[in-house]
């Protein structure tokens, strides 16, 4: 079983994220990390590999320093990583990003492509469906449990109405939810061996894409203007020193909410 896991390098959770007012793009200059819910996809891939054998390949589009995030997933146990890094890909929207990932995934010809639940910076939670359409493969998203039945996978997904179980023949694309597993921490041995695992960095040309296939030139969405969000009004902050409960009750009574 060859499994490709699509992962993203995002600003670290502790960084105050901002959009650069001139480029109208996310400021990616600060500390970065692997997108937290992508760890669940990596973990699921490793579990499948441990059960059935095979290879786990990480696939990413991002700046050169995304290689650091990929190394962390290699330390968890993934076998190798392919990073597409190209100035020309900056400013890609869903169309450009899905085109780049699909181009790499076509080269890799994996049996199963996994995605995490959502990126912590873009919040789109839709990329897999665009990639699956480009690959002309079946897709299931929001999968909270994944099982293998012959050459099919069965995914249990949560929807607004309950749980659906969906069967997908391989090759196929599955986006997992963060409820599917608890990602492991890399072992010391894993961290050491990650340094020597194959990490490829490719340009757009090297994956067979023209410059206008990705980046700003390919985007069909634009950011017109930025502003402050609507406010909820004044906020009260309480550090609990043993009296927080009393303060909450006073407030509830004052607002006549009881």
């Amino acid at each position: 079983m060859k499994i490709a896991v699509c992962v993203k390098h995002v600003p670290d959770a502790t960084v105050h994220k901002r959009i650069d007012p001139t480029t109208k793009r996310l400021d990616r200059s600060g500390e970065s990390a692997l997108n937290p819910t992508d760890l669940n996809a990596v973990e699921e891939a490793l579990r499948v590999k441990e059960a059935q054998g095979g290879e786990v390949v990480l696939v990413s589009l991002g700046p050169a320093k995304a290689a650091d995030s990929l190394r962390k997933a290699l330390a968890m146990g993934a076998d190798r990583a392919v990073l597409v890094s190209d100035e020309g890909a900056a400013g890609s929207d869903l169309l450009g990003t899905s085109r780049v990932l699909a181009a790499v995934l076509e080269r890799e010809a994996a049996d199963l492509v996994l995605f995490g639940q959502a990126s912590s910076d873009g919040d789109g939670a839709v990329l897999w469906a665009a990639v699956a359409d480009r690959l002309r493969q079946p897709v299931i998203s929001q999968v909270a449990a994944l099982t293998f039945e012959g050459d099919e996978v069965h995914g249990k997904r949560q929807t607004e109405h309950g749980y659906d179980t969906i069967s997908v023949p391989l090759p196929g694309v599955v986006a997992v939810s963060d409820a599917i597993n608890e990602p492991r921490y890399p072992s010391l041995k894993g961290i050491m061996s990650a340094k020597t695992k194959p990490q490829e960095t490719l340009s757009l040309a090297e994956i067979g894409l023209a410059p206008e296939a990705a980046g700003d030139a390919s985007a069909r969405t634009t950011v017109l203007d930025l502003g402050p969000p609507p406010s909820r009004g004044d906020q009260i902050k309480i550090e609990d020193d043993g009296t927080a409960a009393q303060k909450i009750v006073d407030l509830i009574l004052e607002k006549r909410l009881l």
Binding site: L94, G124, W128, E160, P169, T221, K237, A245
Partner: protein, 318 residues
Amino acid sequence: MKALVFLEHHEGQLEKGGLGVLSKAASLGDAAGVVLGPGAAELAARAGAYGAPKAYACDDEALAAALPQPRVDALEALVEMTRADAVLFAASVLASDVAAGLAARLEAGLNWDLTDFELRGDELVGKRQALGDTVLVDVGWTGSPRLGLVRAGAFDPVESGGSAEVEAFESPFSGFSSLSALIGQSVEATSGPSIEDADIIVAGGRGLGSPEAFSLLEELAAALGGAVAATRAVVDAGWYPYSTQVGQTGKTVSPKLYIACGISGAIQHKVGMQGAGTIIAINKDPNAPIFDFCDVGVVGDLHQIVPKLTELVRAARS
């Protein structure tokens, strides 16, 4: 603007989300509803009551299960047939995958998480809160059609009466679109007071630490005369029933008081409860995103605070 609005349906009813988007789109210009699946024609006629003079229906059996890929095929065919220059969706698990698949198929721009949209001349402009709702972004499209996913609950349906003229259409289906199959469904039975009707909700997330800690919330809710709700993370972990889930894939609630205990405030949860009158958040992590959109933020240990709160509320009520 000549817009198509995707109307999702479940158990013979059109979903409120799609009807809200349709009402809004119809107030701006030419908007038609689209209903897909067996029984579509009858449901499509109801779109007229929300301002759409016209609705399209494809009742092919290939669209029976709520799976995204055959819907991409059908919408591709319909966009070609109608020359629509916008396709709008109310976000859901299904609609998000349909919209993104359609974007790739048509090489069309998709903006998501829209909380509002308007026309400036003939330009469609979407409003989107990004980066955990810390910035309000005006987004646009280049090229046509323009695809948009609207945040759950952004618009209420506005009922004006009337019936839409329904046009049935047929669609080809691509081989790979029909490979997925729905092979099972489960819905948990509802128990306890309904969170949709409650004036006061006490909600718990992963910060509770264990399923047992929900008993603390149940006691507080009982003292307040409210109901207990949960986040997707703890529902998926089996700590609390699905019927109590608030958020994008759960219920949207708007109680007078919402007490969030051990909830970090992921955007998926926020969209289900941001309409609450007063939001009190108790969390030991001072950096939890929920502190950015609550009215009262308490940094502390809920296991200490909640039992005390229950006692004090009981005392205040007696």
